[in-house]
């Protein structure tokens, strides 16, 4: 892949994006299994803060949107609002099998998923629930996409 020559400022910003990704976690009808595994990543055993990652309280501060759950009818509006509130550049990580395929809830009349029919998804982390290692790998890949500007929302498939 040939990339055009970039200036010093561009490189500085790319480096900053690689080293400082702030997460916002949205539970869209999850059973809480994936949520527990995501929070485990911040614990002393896994310590994802080494990557500069921080769990943020407000979606407006975040770069990475982590969604767990199969998107129930009630959470769809919240998901759309929160997604719109994240400032560009942003990436979306689907945590667990539910946002990827609706899992065992597929076909239910109250489920509006999978996630990629509502917002563009960059990274899928499969598992029910996924292990913290997989979630950290997913976040790491999401940060790569964020820094290189190759996000689905930015027009790259």
């Amino acid at each position: 892949m040939n990339t055009p020559e970039r200036g010093l400022l561009y490189k500085l910003v790319e480096r900053a994006r690689r080293r400082s990704a702030w997460l916002f976690h949205l539970n869209a009808g999850s059973c809480n299994g994936c949520d527990i595994e995501l929070v485990t990543c911040l614990s002393p055993r896994y310590d994802v803060e080494q990557l500069g990652v921080r769990l943020e309280g407000s979606p407006r501060h975040a770069d990475v949107l982590c969604v767990s759950g199969p998107i129930t009818r009630n959470t769809r509006a919240a998901l759309e609002t929160v997604y719109a509130q994240l400032a560009e550049p942003k990436v979306v990580v689907a945590i667990g099998s539910c946002p990827a395929s609706c899992n065992v809830f597929d076909g239910s009349p109250v489920i509006e998923g999978p996630l990629d029919t509502i917002v563009p998804v960059d990274i899928y982390v499969p598992g029910c629930p996924p292990r913290p290692h997989s979630i950290i790998e997913g976040i790491g890949r999401a940060i790569e996409l964020l820094a290189e500007g190759r996000t689905v929302a930015g027009g790259v498939r």
């Binding site: 080494q50 500069g52 509130q85």
Partner: protein, 306 residues
């Protein structure tokens, strides 16, 4: 204080050129040390710098707000007032400062919390309002002892001139006054156990919930400068000795400010967040008592001196 001196204090030392790297170092050390205290490895020490660059490079989301100018002006005002406060710190012996600069310093140190409260209300977010209310209540509880301690020091030194207060306050007054000011420090820096206002996850992000991109970067900048200014202020009144060599004074000032960071971090890592009633009770009772002792002793010294 002539214009050239003021400009030097504002832009070079202890102003922008010193405060920015120092503040990043302090915040980076705070995050790293807190992680170490919790048995984690933690982010690299340069983390606050990268956070700021990233925030500056984000494109803000357009939103309908009541007053765009107000929301953009408040973080800038907070940054500017902190730079002004830094420039007033009595780091060197002798001529810098002017009579009455204590009053100006107190005003400038109080502006960022006030800006934060206004920002919380102006952002029209329920979480912002909740955070702003909490910030207002704890700042009243912390400011009464803080101001009383400063009044006691000024009375004992017989001057409103910061360099005179830093050098001439007798130790019986200085120690309780310092105790009161140190107890107020976690409140003013919004760290545990008094991190009510920006209680992460609990009230989302407190007053800053609705800020993004550049404006959030300016708030972070104000917070960085707040660390340098407040620890620097404590450092200047902690050591009454000033040498004739400016360089030595500057190094002692920087070292003393830095030495406060592990202590504050240890406190933050070892404690949980207090409730509003508990936090205000702690401040009114203990910081208030220390400030009252300082005030009574300073009155006594004043009477004895005449």
């Amino acid at each position: 204080m002539n214009p050239a001196q003021s400009l030097r204090a504002l832009l070079l030392f202890p102003g922008l050129l010193y405060a920015l790297p120092m503040g990043w170092l302090m915040l980076g050390a705070e995050r790293k040390l807190r992680a170490r205290f919790q048995g984690r490895i933690g982010p690299p020490i340069t983390q606050p710098f990268w956070d700021l660059i990233k925030l500056l490079a984000k494109s803000p989301v357009a939103r309908v707000v009541s007053d765009r100018g107000l929301l953009a002006g408040l973080p800038l005002l907070a940054v500017a007032s902190m730079l002004g406060a830094l420039a007033l710190l009595p780091v060197f012996a002798g001529e810098n400062g002017f009579s009455g600069d204590l009053v100006l310093l107190v005003g400038l140190l109080e502006l960022p919390p006030l800006c934060l409260i206004l920002a919380g209300y102006a952002s029209r977010s329920i979480y912002g309002e909740l955070g702003a209310t909490r910030e207002a209540i704890v700042s009243i509880a912390s400011n009464v002892p803080f101001l009383a301690a400063l009044v006691a020091m000024a009375t004992a030194a017989g001057s409103l001139h910061l360099s005179a207060i830093a050098v001439a306050t007798p130790w019986p007054v200085r120690i309780p006054a310092l105790a009161a000011i140190l107890l107020c420090l976690p409140v003013k820096l919004r760290i545990n156990p008094v991190s009510l206002a920006n209680a992460e996850q609990e009230v989302l992000a407190g007053p800053l919930t609705e800020f993004d991109g550049r404006l959030l970067a300016f708030w972070e900048l104000a917070h960085v400068l707040e660390w340098v200014a407040l620890t620097g202020f404590v450092a200047t009144i902690l050591a009454p000795l000033r040498s004739s060599l400016g360089m030595v004074d500057a190094v002692v000032f920087a070292m003393l400010s830095l030495a406060l960071v592990p202590l504050l971090t240890l406190l933050a890592a070892a404690t949980a967040r207090l409730k509003l009633a508990q936090a205000t009770r702690l401040l009114w009772r203990w910081a208030g008592a220390a400030a009252a002792i300082a005030l009574i002793l300073s009155m006594g010294i004043r009477q004895g001196g005449h």
